[in-house]
């Protein structure tokens, strides 16, 4: 090698980067709309000259002219040429530069939005970045500079790709808005936790604004980051003068704004849009002699969702346990049918009920966890802001879920068995997850607290050897049921205390196992949880929708002095009382006159549910409720809708109120039968992501008793045909909103005709008309959700007539 790597070089000094590249190339004739990286081949002298100017101005490292160099913009051969020329030109410019002379492979955004907010699949984004990075590493770059990223998911894709494609140091720089957030909402605290967890060597921000306007965001990094912080802002704000875009800070003023921020701790510094060699020269002159500030050593593990981060500290947290099929028939059904709406609703409701993280478990027979777990994780992260707890024993499913989980998750779990340690610890290390470790091993669960402590100590040592600090481990000393052994809870409680006092680690428990086999389980569970909290429990896995459990949790916090002015407790108690009171009020005032049918007609979900419960408890037969109350109410609203006396929101709310009544009826009827109605497969076709119309149709069809299999959105023709065949569904409904996706609909219909000639196809969506539907070969056109119900009724009648 001969010379030190960039990280050791910058250990005790600042690293000066370059300024803007586009500005210099435009001055040399780069036109708007032209791809700057092509200049590496077309005008190499101009590119080399720009790099040389920065080295001469005092840059220790320059970024290659490869910001947009990726396979979305260039074919493979051209990409190789552009990137190797880019690295070579920077290297030539470095020549015998007086300073560092480092060459950074510049990696910019792809220009497409990554899932979950965009349509570019995450692994495809990883692949595209991988293709750029290995070429740059091969060409001899000194480090990788991922920059101007404004989305958490894309940043992660780039960083994962860089770590997998080479061994070079990786710097990661994000573009923040004036609100101190990335475009998709991530805060500096989230980014620090995510990027450090994935092993970024330097993190920070560039572009967007000038130094002063970004200073608050920078400070949040300096408060949080455990690695050096990079700061490469614009030369202030742009404005147009004489038809040209100019920035308001010249070199001197830029340096003046930068200087205090360097003194506060920014260690890797340079400029972005509007900055020139003049800016870097002034910056070097002003800050060249500054010794970098020490990076503070921080304690405590951070977990994060996509927009919020949380430090696991002195305060215990609640992890919601509802996303788990064990013992839940309705959830199992939802998983088998991949009814994501049901699963997401559980998650959002848990968040609203006060959970601070969500356990996600999809393990059950017949479910391929490796496929299903990542999908659930990805969709949940887009709708809840909470950190997730990835709960599986399958290492492949674990890794698949860890890759696409964009926050910092908890990984549930590793244990003391050799096989588990070998497969799970490296995953937690690679993806930066906080780890739950169960105190059991090849010999089972030790009967003594000391035995459990010994396993915890062993796991701790193994984890630390892989670079996982003990702060990132939560030990689960396991809850055993009290009815099977009277002293079992005491052993668990003592183990909690020992782990806290001897190792200094946090602990976690799923408390409900303690009451297994006993009546009134929540009474027992909440008492045990309070005892566990008294023994240092840091995270309780429980049902946050249980008022008894959450009540005990809030009461404990208040009694322990953790709840200033009892604010948390009062908030919780008033929410619970309020909802009880309002339900009673609704039932008393409105229902007396109109009953269940009236509640549905007025779109009152809670009331419809309460009245159904009441009616069943009072001896009403479920089926007669459906026939005399629910369906007539739906029909009334449906007819009003068709006559334009009621509108879509009313129709939807009535359907949702009916659905809540049905859910009560189903929970009573489930014991003897599962499905009754005709099967209908629904999907939004390939290429289309609009699904609200399709979802409305689903809701209404379900209300009318049809057995709906919703395949979601952007569904390939093959999958729709496959499901229609598998279910022998008499009716398939296809939806498309855009003209561009109607061909996909036509293709799906053709395939259905071949593979599932027995089924009818109805189509709907904004761009379709009766005539268009006929032209693409559909059997029926559903103008709206009520029309879809009518079509289903017709098909059902016809089947009835056909069957002897």
């Amino acid at each position: 090698m001969g010379r030190p790597g960039v990280l050791s070089w910058m250990r005790d000094r600042l690293l000066f980067l370059d300024g803007g590249m586009g500005t210099l190339l435009q001055a040399n004739g780069l036109k708007s709309g032209e791809r700057p990286e092509t200049w590496n081949l077309l005008h190499p002298d101009a590119v080399r000259k720009a790099h040389r100017a920065y080295f001469a101005a005092g840059s220790d490292a320059v970024c290659t002219n490869t910001f947009g160099a990726n396979l979305l913009h260039h074919d493979s051969a051209a990409l190789t040429e552009i990137i190797s020329a880019g690295v070579r030109l920077a290297r030539e410019a470095a020549g015998d530069a007086a300073n560092g002379g480092f060459v950074a492979l510049d990696v910019g955004p792809l220009g497409r939005m990554t899932e979950p907010f965009g349509d570019l699949p995450f692994e495809e984004a990883v692949r595209l970045f991988y293709e750029t990075v290995w070429r740059g590493a091969d060409a001899g770059a000194d480090f990788v500079m991922i920059e101007t990223m404004n989305d958490l998911a894309e940043t992660r894709a780039a960083l994962i790709a860089a770590k997998e494609a080479c061994d070079l140091p990786v710097f990661v720089s994000n573009a923040y808005g004036a609100d101190g957030k990335l475009l998709t909402g991530a805060t500096p605290e989230v980014m620090c936790a995510v990027l450090e967890g994935l092993g970024a060597d330097v993190i920070g921000m560039n572009c967007s604004l000038g130094p002063s306007a970004l200073s608050e965001t920078l400070r949040r990094y300096l408060e949080t980051a455990a690695v050096p912080v990079l700061f490469k802002p614009n030369a202030g704000l742009p404005h147009v003068a004489d038809g040209k875009t100019v920035y308001d800070l010249d070199g001197e003023r830029f340096a003046l704004e930068m200087l205090p921020l360097v003194l506060e701790g920014a260690r890797v510094i340079g400029g972005c849009c509007g900055t020139t060699p003049e800016h870097i020269r002034a910056l070097r002159k002003a800050a060249g002699e500054i010794r970098p500030k020490e990076i503070r050593n921080r304690r405590g593990a951070v977990i994060a969702g996509m927009t919020k981060a949380m430090t696991l500290g002195d305060e215990p947290i609640v992890i919601g346990e509802r996303i788990n099929p064990t013992g839940k028939k309705r959830f199992q059904e939802a998983l088998r049918a991949m009814d994501m709406a049901y699963i997401l609703r559980e998650g959002v409701q848990e968040e609203d009920a006060g959970a601070q993280a969500l356990d996600v478990n999809v393990g059950m027979p017949g479910i391929d966890e490796k496929t299903v777990l990542p999908r659930v994780v990805q969709e949940l992260e887009a709708v809840v802001s909470l950190p997730l707890c990835i709960d599986t024993s399958d290492p492949d499913a674990m890794e698949a879920a860890l890759r696409c989980c964009h926050g910092v998750p908890i990984l549930n779990s590793v244990n003391g068995r050799e096989e588990s340690l070998n497969s799970v610890l490296p995953l937690a290390a690679k993806y930066g997850a906080v780890l739950i470790a169960l105190t059991l091993d090849e010999n089972g669960i030790p009967e003594t607290p000391q035995g459990r402590l010994a396993i915890a100590e062993r796991i701790c040592a193994r984890a630390e050897a892989l670079g996982i600090p003990k702060e990132r481990i939560l030990f689960d000393p396991l809850t055993l049921t009290v009815s099977a052994g009277a002293d079992a809870p005491a052993v668990t409680l003592e183990a909690l205390r020992l782990i806290r006092d001897r190792i200094g680690c946090g602990t976690v428990l799923g408390v409900s196992n303690v009451s297994f086999g006993l009546p009134g389980r929540e009474i027992m569970n909440s008492a045990f949880m309070v005892m566990a909290l008294e023994n240092g429990l840091k995270a309780a896995i429980l049902n946050p929708k249980s008022a008894q459990m959450m009540g005990a949790f809030h009461a404990w916090r208040a009694l322990r002095g953790l709840d200033a002015n009892c604010g948390g407790y009062i908030g919780f108690a008033s929410r619970v009382q309020f909802s009880a009171a309002s339900a009673a009020q609704a039932a008393g005032v409105d229902s007396g006159t109109e009953g269940l049918s009236g509640a549905i007609g007025r779109g009152l979900r809670a009331e419809a549910e309460a009245l159904t419960r009441e009616a069943i408890a009072g001896g009403s037969e479920a089926l007669s409720l459906v026939e005399t109350e629910i369906i007539p109410a739906l029909n009334r609203v449906g007819e009003a809708y068709e006559q334009k006396r009621a509108y879509l929101p009313q129709l939807l709310l009535a359907a949702e109120a009916a659905e809540s009544a049905f859910s009560v009826i189903r929970s009573h009827a489930r014991r003897d039968n599962s499905h009754g109605g005709m099967r209908v497969v629904l999907a939004t076709v390939k290429g289309d992501v609009h699904d609200i119309g399709k979802n409305i149709v689903k809701l209404l069809l379900e209300n009318y008793g049809y057995d709906v299999y919703d395949l979601g959105r952007d569904v390939p023709p093959e999958r729709i045909a496959e499901e229609a065949v598998r279910l022998r569904a008499p009716l398939v409904g296809l939806s498309a909103l855009m003209t561009t996706t109607v061909p996909a609909m036509e293709k799906t219909i053709r395939l259905l005709r071949q593979e599932a000639p027995f089924c009818r196809v109805m189509v709907g969506g904004a761009v379709l008309t009766e005539a268009y539907a006929q032209a693409i070969g559909a059997d029926a056109y559903g103008r709206d959700a009520m029309a879809a119900v009518r079509i289903a009724q017709t098909v059902e009648r016809e089947i009835g007539e056909d069957t002897p």
Binding site: F117, V384, R645, P649, L653, I692
Partner: protein, 201 residues
């Protein structure tokens, strides 16, 4: 260039009800009103208030227009810009926070999702209107008048025109990107041309 709207404008409830497809005479359903109030509370302060724009000369051509950043065949656009020496091209977005709020609302219930969609649509339209107000003021000083906005997908102006718009405005700077089907992300985003008629701006 990027234009910032100073403050979030008040919600236009009539517009939101219209996007919810609540027609006249639908009566006041108790559930709908409660839901609307709850969603408005959730939506408060969520919107991004940035528009990126640029002004281009307009040259009429046979069957279309040359806007210098692109030549486009579209009789309808040519008609919309006839008599205009220049046009303002802009992109506006309510931001990703709205997409997240819609996804969350939809997870809770379809009705809630519908209402949040409607609020998002109203918000981005309010942003476009405010931007047009700003352009109108600037244009009026120069004796110019504004034509109604015209977006890709209107009339015979193909959606594929979005690619040229995205390139010309560099609209990723305010966070708008095009997806595979030329759809914009965030979903509550608008691109459009406004013709400026009269003497040169």
């Amino acid at each position: 260039m990027i234009w910032h709207m100073e403050a979030e404008p008040p919600f236009n409830l009539d517009e939101i009800r219209r996007y919810m497809r609540l027609g006249p005479g639908g009566g006041n359903m108790q559930g709908v009103e409660t839901l609307l109030r709850e969603c408005l509370a959730d939506a408060c302060g969520l919107m991004k208030r940035e528009v990126c724009y640029a002004v281009y000369p307009v040259h009429a051509e046979e069957g279309g227009v040359d806007l210098t950043f692109a030549r486009v065949r579209s009789y309808d656009l040519a008609r919309a810009l006839s008599g205009c020496g220049q046009a303002v091209l802009f992109a506006a977005t309510a931001g990703f926070a709205f997409d997240a709020a819609i996804a969350r609302a939809q997870a809770l219930s379809e009705a809630r999702g519908l209402v949040m969609h409607a609020i998002g649509a109203e918000r981005v339209e309010a942003l476009c209107d405010a931007f047009c107000g700003f352009i109108q003021q600037t244009a009026a000083c120069r004796g110019l008048t504004l034509r109604p906005r015209f977006s890709p997908g209107y009339g015979d102006l193909p959606l594929s025109f979005q690619t040229a718009v995205a390139g010309a405005l560099e609209m990723e700077k305010i966070g708008i990107v095009l997806g595979e089907g030329l759809l914009m992300r965030p979903s509550k985003s608008v691109t459009a041309l406004i013709g400026l008629a009269g003497k040169d701006m």
